[in-house]
Symmetry: C2
Subunit: 338 residues, 2 copies
């Protein structure tokens, strides 16, 4: 077997799966942030030329996969499988983008952990031989998320200090059994952790315990420590969630302050862009991974990172029914390589 | 490699993955249908003892997995992975049922195709060695679906003749690399097919082309014909969708009338239970597979079936925006065995 189960929640790939090509697409606010120059495509139009924000989000995914395919000199028909998901009800961002393309599709829902989930499943699918070339992809859109999860944008609702700003963007990654590029060498599947946080405007606090749980599981299952990674990259904990993760780790004697980088803290400039606790959404970790981290790995500037997608698994209905917020984090270990 | 890609959309397992144990839980209306005696657990209470229909659906999944674990003399901690999804916004039926259980979880969204999708992904995860024991699971609930997708139940809205009745139920299957039971020997991942149907009360018509597409792909990719299967089991096309599938096949010269069995047509007695075109929902194919077909395979009464989960990937928002209904179908080939 090329893949071996390890410990409780993890598996290793004896023959690593290679991330051969990737692409990122982002919106106006993201293009004005610290990583603005890193994205393959950006647009100042929040509709991306479509008639609704939902259609714009679906179009974002098509732009991201088309950009990756073009870079790799491939057609959509060269992909055996697309693993994708998003935040919209019934994941219409993903399924509508793939209508009548003829590409096999498996839909995922892991909230903002979806980029890591799709990479993890893609690694199993390609590493096992079930498919020869897969795409891992996700998206989010500020405006489609706001009206679905919070208030109509025209209402002008005030945001709390702990709130995060949903990233408008999409990232896609092509996975193959060989070739040049960063490599997935091991993954850890998260468990659903809920410590009772009920504030839907404080998702960082809800997700930090799940992130800590999965990072610890990855290290325990695979006999690794923080020294094995240049950085541990969390999806979208935001500033508050990142602080909480470091505190949880410190309580157990781990000092990760210098290791943890959070995509939600990286994508916007909090002193200039009024995003409160940082970025969030499936697209947040997707565009930061595909716009920044994978290039650093490819260039040989990093040896290994642990990419930890974090998702708050709430819904407006669960919040209205007084439920607390379950969260999950999936981790993908990525080695540098060109 | 144990798994080999085959053709465009399919893969074979050289060492089949075994469905060692399964369980089904269903509601009152389902318990009064033709398969009422087949289910492991039924309840006359639509709330299943919970405070809301959404919490009831989440509880249904916990009942289904607990029942399967009990049959297999296992604890939840013996599972390396649970692959599950449901129809509720943000899949809260699945994620809330697994809160703080400590079981690794990957969330799926394939609408009513989710039982097949979870089996397919479980077959890759177990067949590849990434996990040792996985659970494939899904659920739906009539009342939580009606108010999310259609009208508040108290409104008493009229149902059109082509409408289907969402099944209240959950099914769970334990997958292992060896042991006794029916075996997954090959799978086909579906593509997103949309022929322009816009009537959200006629999902059978939207899904039939996807079902035909995937069944044909399975046969083409693997060099099989309808003669290789005792039955081709579709998820929830309903009576109208089943007729359309047979017509689509007949147009190409295939006569499948005697081969196709639809879980949506099996779960209710249409002459007595006023369900119009039949049952639907993720739970429909899940309870019929786990309550009926897997037992027939285990008993050696069937040699091989093709289990084809069918999903309509619409959302209320997409319908309101005038979109047509994309659909997907995933196929899992199951061999008899005890």
């Amino acid at each position: 077997m090329n893949i071996t189960h390890s410990g409780r929640q993890s598996f290793r790939l004896q023959q690593p799966v290679v991330l051969t090509t990737w692409a990122s697409v982002a919106g106006k606010k993201e293009s004005e942030g610290p990583l603005g120059a890193c994205f393959d495509l950006t647009s100042r139009d929040p509709y991306f030329g479509q008639k609704s924000w939902e259609k714009a989000e679906s179009h974002l995914q098509m732009l991201a996969i088309s950009a990756a395919a073009e870079k790799a000199c491939l057609q959509l028909s060269d992909f055996d499988l697309i693993l994708s998901g998003d935040l919209l009800n019934q994941c219409i961002g993903s399924s509508f983008s793939l209508r009548n393309t003829g590409v096999p599709h498996l839909g995922l829902y892991g909230a903002c952990s979806t980029m890591a989930e799709s990479l993890l499943m893609g690694a199993i699918a390609v590493g096992s031989g079930a498919v020869r070339r897969a795409v891992a992809m996700t998206s989010s859109h500020f405006a489609s998320s706001e009206r679905q999860y919070r208030f109509p944008l025209g209402y002008g609702g005030q945001r709390t200090p702990t709130a995060q700003w949903t990233v408008t963007g999409s990232g896609s990654v092509i996975l193959e059994p060989g070739g040049k590029g960063p490599r997935v060498d091991a993954c850890t599947v998260g468990t659903v952790v809920d410590l009772g946080i009920k504030d839907a405007n404080n998702m960082g606090a809800a997700m930090a315990p799940a992130a800590y749980d999965t990072i610890r599981a990855h290290m325990d299952d695979l006999g690794r420590t923080e020294a094995d990674f240049d950085f541990i990259i969390t999806g979208d904990l935001g500033q508050l969630g990142r602080e909480l993760l470091c505190k949880l780790a410190a309580r157990d004697g781990y000092h990760w302050e210098d290791k943890i980088r959070d995509c939600g803290c990286m994508v916007f400039d909090n002193t200039q862009q009024d995003v409160h606790s940082g970025g969030s959404g499936c697209g947040c970790s997707a565009v930061v991974l595909c716009g920044y981290w994978l290039d650093k790995l490819k260039q040989g500037k990093l040896k290994r990172i642990l990419f930890c997608g974090t998702g708050a698994l709430l819904s407006p209905t669960s919040t209205q029914q007084g439920e607390s917020i379950p969260a999950v984090c999936h981790a993908v270990s990525l080695e540098g390589g060109n």
